[in-house]
Protein backbone atom coordinates (compact mmCIF):
# COMPACT_ATOMS: atom_id res chain seq x y z
CA UNK A 1 0.00 0.00 0.00
CA UNK A 2 1.33 3.44 -0.94
CA UNK A 3 2.14 5.90 1.85
CA UNK A 4 3.42 9.43 1.65
CA UNK A 5 4.00 11.01 5.04
CA UNK A 6 6.27 13.99 5.63
CA UNK A 7 9.11 12.99 7.91
CA UNK A 8 11.24 15.75 9.43
CA UNK A 9 10.20 18.07 6.61
CA UNK A 10 10.85 15.67 3.72
CA UNK A 11 7.96 14.13 1.82
CA UNK A 12 8.34 10.36 1.58
CA UNK A 13 6.83 7.91 -0.91
CA UNK A 14 6.94 4.16 -0.25
CA UNK A 15 4.96 1.01 -0.78
CA UNK A 16 4.55 -0.81 2.50
CA UNK A 17 2.64 -3.72 3.97
CA UNK A 18 -0.42 -2.46 5.91
CA UNK A 19 0.83 -4.24 9.04
CA UNK A 20 4.12 -2.32 9.11
CA UNK A 21 4.38 -0.35 12.36
CA UNK A 22 5.31 3.32 12.15
CA UNK A 23 8.43 2.78 14.27
CA UNK A 24 9.70 0.10 11.87
CA UNK A 25 8.82 2.31 8.91
CA UNK A 26 10.89 5.14 10.37
CA UNK A 27 13.83 2.91 11.31
CA UNK A 28 13.96 0.36 8.50
CA UNK A 29 12.37 2.11 5.51
CA UNK A 30 13.19 5.79 6.01
CA UNK A 31 16.48 4.94 7.76
CA UNK A 32 16.03 7.16 10.82
CA UNK A 33 17.24 4.94 13.65
CA UNK A 34 17.23 7.36 16.60
CA UNK A 35 13.69 6.35 17.58
CA UNK A 36 14.07 3.24 19.74
CA UNK A 37 11.88 0.22 20.38
CA UNK A 38 11.84 -0.55 24.09
CA UNK A 39 8.87 -2.62 25.18
CA UNK A 40 6.99 -3.03 21.88
CA UNK A 41 3.79 -3.10 24.02
CA UNK A 42 2.81 0.60 24.18
CA UNK A 43 4.18 0.97 27.70
CA UNK A 44 7.64 2.54 27.74
CA UNK A 45 7.49 5.52 25.38
CA UNK A 46 10.97 4.91 23.89
CA UNK A 47 9.34 5.02 20.44
CA UNK A 48 7.65 8.42 20.95
CA UNK A 49 7.55 10.71 17.91
CA UNK A 50 5.36 13.68 17.00
CA UNK A 51 2.46 12.91 14.66
CA UNK A 52 0.83 16.11 13.42
CA UNK A 53 2.42 17.94 16.32
CA UNK A 54 1.43 15.59 19.14
CA UNK A 55 3.38 12.83 20.89
CA UNK A 56 2.42 9.27 19.96
CA UNK A 57 3.93 5.83 20.57
CA UNK A 58 5.05 4.81 17.10
CA UNK A 59 4.98 1.10 18.04
CA UNK A 60 1.20 1.46 18.32
CA UNK A 61 0.53 3.27 15.05
CA UNK A 62 0.55 1.69 11.60
CA UNK A 63 2.63 3.39 8.92
CA UNK A 64 -0.51 3.44 6.74
CA UNK A 65 -2.35 5.44 9.44
CA UNK A 66 0.33 8.12 9.10
CA UNK A 67 -0.15 8.51 5.35
CA UNK A 68 -0.22 12.23 4.58
CA UNK A 69 0.70 13.17 8.16
CA UNK A 70 3.63 15.22 9.47
CA UNK A 71 6.04 13.16 11.53
CA UNK A 72 8.90 14.59 13.55
CA UNK A 73 11.60 12.41 15.11
CA UNK A 74 14.39 13.47 17.42
CA UNK A 75 16.75 13.66 14.42
CA UNK A 76 15.00 16.89 13.38
CA UNK A 77 15.79 18.78 16.56
CA UNK A 78 19.46 19.71 16.46
CA UNK A 79 20.64 22.21 13.88
CA UNK A 80 24.09 21.18 12.66
CA UNK A 81 26.15 21.31 15.87
CA UNK A 82 23.60 23.26 17.86
CA UNK A 83 21.36 21.22 20.13
CA UNK A 84 17.66 21.97 20.47
CA UNK A 85 16.84 23.74 23.79
CA UNK A 86 15.21 20.57 25.16
CA UNK A 87 18.28 18.50 24.23
CA UNK A 88 20.56 21.17 25.69
CA UNK A 89 18.57 21.13 28.93
CA UNK A 90 18.80 17.30 29.14
CA UNK A 91 22.55 17.58 28.67
CA UNK A 92 23.06 20.34 31.22
CA UNK A 93 20.86 18.72 33.86
CA UNK A 94 22.14 15.15 33.40
CA UNK A 95 18.69 14.08 32.18
CA UNK A 96 20.14 10.89 30.71
CA UNK A 97 22.51 8.08 31.59
CA UNK A 98 22.45 5.19 29.13
CA UNK A 99 20.38 7.29 26.73
CA UNK A 100 18.04 4.55 25.57
CA UNK A 101 14.88 6.33 26.71
CA UNK A 102 16.16 9.76 25.67
CA UNK A 103 14.88 10.12 22.08
CA UNK A 104 11.35 9.27 23.25
CA UNK A 105 11.72 11.28 26.43
CA UNK A 106 12.80 14.38 24.50
CA UNK A 107 9.90 14.07 22.04
CA UNK A 108 7.41 13.55 24.89
CA UNK A 109 8.91 16.59 26.65
CA UNK A 110 8.54 18.68 23.50
CA UNK A 111 4.87 17.71 23.16
CA UNK A 112 4.36 18.41 26.87
CA UNK A 113 5.88 21.90 26.55
CA UNK A 114 3.61 22.66 23.61
CA UNK A 115 0.60 21.88 25.77
CA UNK A 116 2.02 23.43 28.96
CA UNK A 117 4.59 26.10 27.99
CA UNK A 118 5.21 26.94 31.65
CA UNK A 119 4.57 23.66 33.48
CA UNK A 120 4.67 22.98 37.19
CA UNK A 121 6.83 20.11 38.44
CA UNK A 122 3.68 18.04 38.90
CA UNK A 123 2.58 18.73 35.31
CA UNK A 124 5.99 17.59 34.08
CA UNK A 125 5.84 14.38 36.11
CA UNK A 126 2.31 13.62 34.92
CA UNK A 127 3.07 14.66 31.37
CA UNK A 128 5.91 12.13 31.20
CA UNK A 129 3.93 9.27 32.75
CA UNK A 130 4.05 7.39 29.45
CA UNK A 131 7.86 7.30 29.34
CA UNK A 132 9.93 4.91 31.41
CA UNK A 133 13.60 5.35 32.29
CA UNK A 134 15.61 2.53 33.85
CA UNK A 135 18.56 4.73 34.82
CA UNK A 136 17.97 8.25 36.04
CA UNK A 137 15.27 7.98 38.68
CA UNK A 138 13.50 10.76 36.74
CA UNK A 139 14.57 13.69 38.96
CA UNK A 140 17.07 15.08 36.47
CA UNK A 141 14.69 14.53 33.58
CA UNK A 142 12.07 16.60 35.38
CA UNK A 143 14.71 19.24 36.15
CA UNK A 144 15.72 19.30 32.49
CA UNK A 145 12.17 19.81 31.25
CA UNK A 146 11.55 22.58 33.77
CA UNK A 147 14.81 24.24 32.68
CA UNK A 148 13.89 23.87 28.98
CA UNK A 149 10.54 25.57 29.61
CA UNK A 150 12.36 28.84 30.21
CA UNK A 151 14.50 28.66 27.06
CA UNK A 152 13.63 30.48 23.82
CA UNK A 153 12.62 28.14 21.02
CA UNK A 154 11.87 25.25 23.39
CA UNK A 155 8.62 24.30 21.65
CA UNK A 156 9.79 24.84 18.08
CA UNK A 157 11.12 22.38 15.52
CA UNK A 158 12.75 23.13 12.22
CA UNK A 159 10.74 20.53 10.30
Amino acid sequence: MHVSPTVNGTTQAHDVEPRLLLVHYLRDVVGLTATNVGCDTSSCGACTVLLDGESVKSCTVLAVQADGAEIVTVEALARDDELHPVQQAFRENHGLQCGYCTPGMVMAALSLLREHPDPTEEEVREGLEGNLCRCTGYHNIVKAVLAAAGMPGATGVRA
Binding site: D40, T41, S42, V61, G130
Partner: protein, 273 residues
Protein backbone atom coordinates in the same frame (compact mmCIF):
# COMPACT_ATOMS: atom_id res chain seq x y z
CA UNK B 1 5.53 -8.18 17.63
CA UNK B 2 3.95 -7.81 14.23
CA UNK B 3 0.23 -8.20 13.48
CA UNK B 4 -0.89 -10.97 11.13
CA UNK B 5 -1.37 -9.71 7.56
CA UNK B 6 -4.59 -7.87 6.74
CA UNK B 7 -6.04 -5.67 4.01
CA UNK B 8 -6.36 -2.00 4.78
CA UNK B 9 -9.21 0.24 3.64
CA UNK B 10 -8.94 3.95 4.30
CA UNK B 11 -12.58 5.06 4.51
CA UNK B 12 -13.33 8.47 3.02
CA UNK B 13 -16.56 8.99 4.99
CA UNK B 14 -18.87 7.26 7.46
CA UNK B 15 -20.96 5.97 4.53
CA UNK B 16 -17.84 4.65 2.86
CA UNK B 17 -16.86 2.86 6.09
CA UNK B 18 -20.33 1.30 6.40
CA UNK B 19 -20.14 0.13 2.78
CA UNK B 20 -16.78 -1.51 3.48
CA UNK B 21 -18.21 -3.24 6.58
CA UNK B 22 -21.20 -4.44 4.53
CA UNK B 23 -18.86 -5.83 1.88
CA UNK B 24 -16.47 -7.65 4.21
CA UNK B 25 -18.87 -8.71 6.99
CA UNK B 26 -17.42 -10.40 10.06
CA UNK B 27 -13.92 -10.39 8.57
CA UNK B 28 -13.61 -6.61 8.94
CA UNK B 29 -12.97 -4.34 11.93
CA UNK B 30 -13.10 -0.60 12.22
CA UNK B 31 -9.85 1.08 13.22
CA UNK B 32 -10.28 4.34 15.17
CA UNK B 33 -7.32 5.33 17.38
CA UNK B 34 -6.01 1.76 17.29
CA UNK B 35 -4.97 1.86 20.94
CA UNK B 36 -7.02 -1.13 21.96
CA UNK B 37 -7.12 -3.00 18.66
CA UNK B 38 -3.48 -2.74 17.54
CA UNK B 39 -2.03 -4.08 20.83
CA UNK B 40 -4.41 -7.07 20.51
CA UNK B 41 -3.38 -7.57 16.88
CA UNK B 42 0.31 -7.40 17.77
CA UNK B 43 -0.30 -10.19 20.29
CA UNK B 44 -2.34 -12.00 17.59
CA UNK B 45 -5.29 -12.08 19.95
CA UNK B 46 -7.18 -10.34 17.16
CA UNK B 47 -6.62 -11.24 13.51
CA UNK B 48 -9.12 -9.31 11.39
CA UNK B 49 -8.72 -9.89 7.65
CA UNK B 50 -9.65 -6.29 6.84
CA UNK B 51 -9.14 -3.06 8.77
CA UNK B 52 -11.43 -0.17 7.86
CA UNK B 53 -9.62 2.96 9.00
CA UNK B 54 -11.90 5.76 10.20
CA UNK B 55 -9.48 7.42 12.63
CA UNK B 56 -8.84 10.42 10.40
CA UNK B 57 -12.53 11.24 9.67
CA UNK B 58 -12.98 14.82 10.86
CA UNK B 59 -16.76 14.58 10.41
CA UNK B 60 -16.96 12.50 13.60
CA UNK B 61 -14.54 14.55 15.71
CA UNK B 62 -16.48 17.26 17.55
CA UNK B 63 -18.00 18.33 20.85
CA UNK B 64 -21.19 20.31 20.20
CA UNK B 65 -23.99 21.85 22.21
CA UNK B 66 -27.11 19.77 21.59
CA UNK B 67 -29.45 21.75 23.85
CA UNK B 68 -30.03 19.51 26.87
CA UNK B 69 -26.95 17.43 26.06
CA UNK B 70 -23.43 17.63 24.71
CA UNK B 71 -23.11 15.78 21.39
CA UNK B 72 -19.71 14.16 20.99
CA UNK B 73 -18.48 12.62 17.74
CA UNK B 74 -17.33 9.02 18.17
CA UNK B 75 -13.86 9.81 16.81
CA UNK B 76 -13.19 12.58 19.33
CA UNK B 77 -9.86 11.81 20.95
CA UNK B 78 -9.34 11.58 24.70
CA UNK B 79 -7.16 14.70 24.61
CA UNK B 80 -10.00 16.68 22.99
CA UNK B 81 -12.43 15.50 25.69
CA UNK B 82 -9.91 16.51 28.34
CA UNK B 83 -9.60 20.06 27.00
CA UNK B 84 -13.20 20.74 25.87
CA UNK B 85 -14.60 23.86 27.59
CA UNK B 86 -18.16 22.74 26.92
CA UNK B 87 -17.59 19.40 28.65
CA UNK B 88 -15.64 20.95 31.52
CA UNK B 89 -18.65 23.15 32.15
CA UNK B 90 -21.54 20.77 31.44
CA UNK B 91 -20.26 17.28 32.26
CA UNK B 92 -16.93 17.71 34.06
CA UNK B 93 -16.63 14.06 35.06
CA UNK B 94 -15.96 13.11 31.43
CA UNK B 95 -12.90 15.35 30.84
CA UNK B 96 -11.63 14.46 34.31
CA UNK B 97 -11.88 10.73 33.61
CA UNK B 98 -10.46 11.12 30.09
CA UNK B 99 -7.41 12.81 31.65
CA UNK B 100 -6.68 9.61 33.60
CA UNK B 101 -6.69 7.32 30.54
CA UNK B 102 -3.24 5.85 29.96
CA UNK B 103 -0.73 8.60 29.26
CA UNK B 104 -0.55 11.65 26.97
CA UNK B 105 0.55 9.58 23.97
CA UNK B 106 -2.44 7.25 24.40
CA UNK B 107 -4.78 10.21 24.84
CA UNK B 108 -3.50 11.80 21.62
CA UNK B 109 -4.66 8.72 19.67
CA UNK B 110 -7.47 6.92 21.50
CA UNK B 111 -11.08 7.92 20.84
CA UNK B 112 -14.26 8.04 22.91
CA UNK B 113 -16.08 5.86 20.39
CA UNK B 114 -13.29 3.27 20.42
CA UNK B 115 -13.29 3.18 24.21
CA UNK B 116 -17.02 2.53 24.34
CA UNK B 117 -17.33 0.24 21.31
CA UNK B 118 -14.46 -1.95 22.52
CA UNK B 119 -16.59 -2.78 25.58
CA UNK B 120 -13.61 -3.45 27.83
CA UNK B 121 -14.67 -3.64 31.51
CA UNK B 122 -11.23 -2.24 32.47
CA UNK B 123 -11.82 0.96 30.49
CA UNK B 124 -12.69 4.16 32.30
CA UNK B 125 -15.09 5.89 29.94
CA UNK B 126 -17.80 3.19 29.77
CA UNK B 127 -18.37 3.64 33.52
CA UNK B 128 -18.62 7.39 33.00
CA UNK B 129 -21.16 6.88 30.19
CA UNK B 130 -23.24 4.71 32.54
CA UNK B 131 -23.03 7.15 35.46
CA UNK B 132 -24.02 10.05 33.20
CA UNK B 133 -26.77 8.00 31.50
CA UNK B 134 -25.36 8.81 28.08
CA UNK B 135 -27.06 7.78 24.83
CA UNK B 136 -25.12 6.18 21.99
CA UNK B 137 -26.02 6.85 18.39
CA UNK B 138 -25.35 3.83 16.16
CA UNK B 139 -25.51 3.94 12.37
CA UNK B 140 -25.88 0.97 10.07
CA UNK B 141 -27.45 -0.17 6.80
CA UNK B 142 -30.91 0.26 8.35
CA UNK B 143 -30.18 3.86 9.35
CA UNK B 144 -29.60 5.35 12.76
CA UNK B 145 -30.73 4.20 16.20
CA UNK B 146 -30.24 5.45 19.73
CA UNK B 147 -29.07 3.05 22.43
CA UNK B 148 -29.12 4.02 26.13
CA UNK B 149 -25.84 3.30 27.95
CA UNK B 150 -27.60 0.65 30.07
CA UNK B 151 -28.39 -1.40 26.95
CA UNK B 152 -25.08 -0.80 25.20
CA UNK B 153 -22.64 -3.09 27.03
CA UNK B 154 -23.66 -6.69 26.34
CA UNK B 155 -20.80 -9.01 27.27
CA UNK B 156 -17.02 -9.24 27.49
CA UNK B 157 -15.78 -7.00 24.63
CA UNK B 158 -19.30 -7.10 23.22
CA UNK B 159 -21.64 -4.15 22.69
CA UNK B 160 -24.91 -3.32 20.94
CA UNK B 161 -22.95 -2.25 17.84
CA UNK B 162 -23.45 -4.93 15.16
CA UNK B 163 -20.67 -6.05 12.78
CA UNK B 164 -22.13 -3.90 9.98
CA UNK B 165 -22.70 -0.87 12.22
CA UNK B 166 -20.73 2.01 13.61
CA UNK B 167 -21.02 4.11 16.75
CA UNK B 168 -21.19 7.68 15.45
CA UNK B 169 -22.13 9.94 18.36
CA UNK B 170 -22.34 9.94 22.15
CA UNK B 171 -24.94 12.20 23.77
CA UNK B 172 -24.12 13.21 27.31
CA UNK B 173 -26.81 14.95 29.39
CA UNK B 174 -25.75 18.36 30.67
CA UNK B 175 -25.26 18.16 34.41
CA UNK B 176 -23.54 21.49 35.19
CA UNK B 177 -23.52 21.98 38.95
CA UNK B 178 -24.12 18.28 39.74
CA UNK B 179 -21.85 16.56 42.26
CA UNK B 180 -19.51 14.04 40.70
CA UNK B 181 -16.42 11.97 41.34
CA UNK B 182 -14.18 9.66 39.35
CA UNK B 183 -12.06 7.39 41.55
CA UNK B 184 -9.43 5.25 39.87
CA UNK B 185 -7.15 2.95 41.83
CA UNK B 186 -3.89 2.08 40.08
CA UNK B 187 -0.46 0.84 41.09
CA UNK B 188 1.40 3.18 38.71
CA UNK B 189 0.16 6.41 37.21
CA UNK B 190 -0.18 5.26 33.58
CA UNK B 191 -1.88 1.97 34.47
CA UNK B 192 -5.40 0.76 33.85
CA UNK B 193 -7.70 0.86 36.87
CA UNK B 194 -7.57 -2.12 39.22
CA UNK B 195 -11.01 -0.84 40.19
CA UNK B 196 -12.62 2.48 39.28
CA UNK B 197 -15.82 4.30 40.20
CA UNK B 198 -17.79 6.97 38.36
CA UNK B 199 -20.50 8.78 40.34
CA UNK B 200 -22.80 11.63 39.30
CA UNK B 201 -25.23 13.11 41.81
CA UNK B 202 -27.93 15.17 40.16
CA UNK B 203 -31.07 14.66 42.22
CA UNK B 204 -30.72 10.90 41.81
CA UNK B 205 -27.30 9.31 41.77
CA UNK B 206 -25.68 7.35 38.94
CA UNK B 207 -22.86 5.03 40.02
CA UNK B 208 -20.89 2.67 37.78
CA UNK B 209 -17.81 0.54 38.26
CA UNK B 210 -14.67 -0.21 36.27
CA UNK B 211 -13.24 -3.75 36.30
CA UNK B 212 -15.76 -5.40 38.64
CA UNK B 213 -17.04 -7.99 36.16
CA UNK B 214 -16.93 -9.01 32.50
CA UNK B 215 -18.73 -5.81 31.41
CA UNK B 216 -18.81 -2.17 32.52
CA UNK B 217 -21.42 -2.28 35.29
CA UNK B 218 -23.93 -0.01 36.96
CA UNK B 219 -23.81 -0.32 40.78
CA UNK B 220 -27.53 -1.00 41.07
CA UNK B 221 -27.43 -2.03 44.74
CA UNK B 222 -25.71 1.24 45.68
CA UNK B 223 -28.20 3.29 43.71
CA UNK B 224 -31.16 1.45 45.27
CA UNK B 225 -29.75 1.95 48.77
CA UNK B 226 -29.29 5.67 48.16
CA UNK B 227 -32.79 5.97 46.72
CA UNK B 228 -34.13 4.30 49.89
CA UNK B 229 -32.37 6.93 51.99
CA UNK B 230 -29.14 5.16 52.99
CA UNK B 231 -26.08 7.23 53.91
CA UNK B 232 -23.10 7.22 51.56
CA UNK B 233 -21.24 4.89 53.92
CA UNK B 234 -24.14 2.40 54.14
CA UNK B 235 -24.76 2.49 50.38
CA UNK B 236 -21.04 1.92 49.70
CA UNK B 237 -21.12 -1.20 51.87
CA UNK B 238 -23.14 -2.98 49.15
CA UNK B 239 -20.96 -1.74 46.27
CA UNK B 240 -19.81 -5.25 45.32
CA UNK B 241 -23.25 -6.83 45.53
CA UNK B 242 -24.08 -8.62 42.27
CA UNK B 243 -20.56 -8.04 40.94
CA UNK B 244 -18.31 -10.78 39.62
CA UNK B 245 -14.79 -9.35 39.63
CA UNK B 246 -11.96 -11.35 38.10
CA UNK B 247 -8.60 -12.18 39.62
CA UNK B 248 -5.37 -11.26 37.87
CA UNK B 249 -1.77 -10.30 38.47
CA UNK B 250 -2.80 -7.05 40.18
CA UNK B 251 -5.60 -8.15 42.48
CA UNK B 252 -7.67 -11.13 43.54
CA UNK B 253 -11.45 -10.95 43.51
CA UNK B 254 -11.80 -10.23 47.25
CA UNK B 255 -9.38 -7.34 47.04
CA UNK B 256 -11.38 -5.91 44.13
CA UNK B 257 -14.57 -6.22 46.20
CA UNK B 258 -12.87 -4.39 49.06
CA UNK B 259 -11.61 -1.66 46.73
CA UNK B 260 -15.09 -1.21 45.25
CA UNK B 261 -16.58 -0.60 48.71
CA UNK B 262 -13.86 1.85 49.72
CA UNK B 263 -13.78 3.72 46.41
CA UNK B 264 -17.59 3.96 46.17
CA UNK B 265 -17.70 5.52 49.64
CA UNK B 266 -15.05 8.06 48.64
CA UNK B 267 -16.83 8.80 45.37
CA UNK B 268 -20.24 9.24 47.01
CA UNK B 269 -18.82 11.53 49.67
CA UNK B 270 -17.01 13.59 47.07
CA UNK B 271 -20.10 13.77 44.85
CA UNK B 272 -22.23 14.86 47.84
CA UNK B 273 -24.60 11.92 47.43
Amino acid sequence: MIPAPFDFVRASSVDDALAALAEHGDEAKLLAGGHSLLPLMKLRLATPAVLVDVGHLGELSYVEDGGDHAAIGALTRHRALETSDLLRREAPILPAAAATVGDPQVRHRGTLGGSLAHGDPASDLPAVALALRATMVVRGPQGEREVPADEFFRGFLETAVGPDEMLTEVRVPKVAGAGWAFEKFTRRSQDWAIVGVAAVHNGSTGVALVNMGPVPLRATAVQAALAAGATAADAAAVADEGMDPSADLHADADYRRHLARVLVRRALERAGA
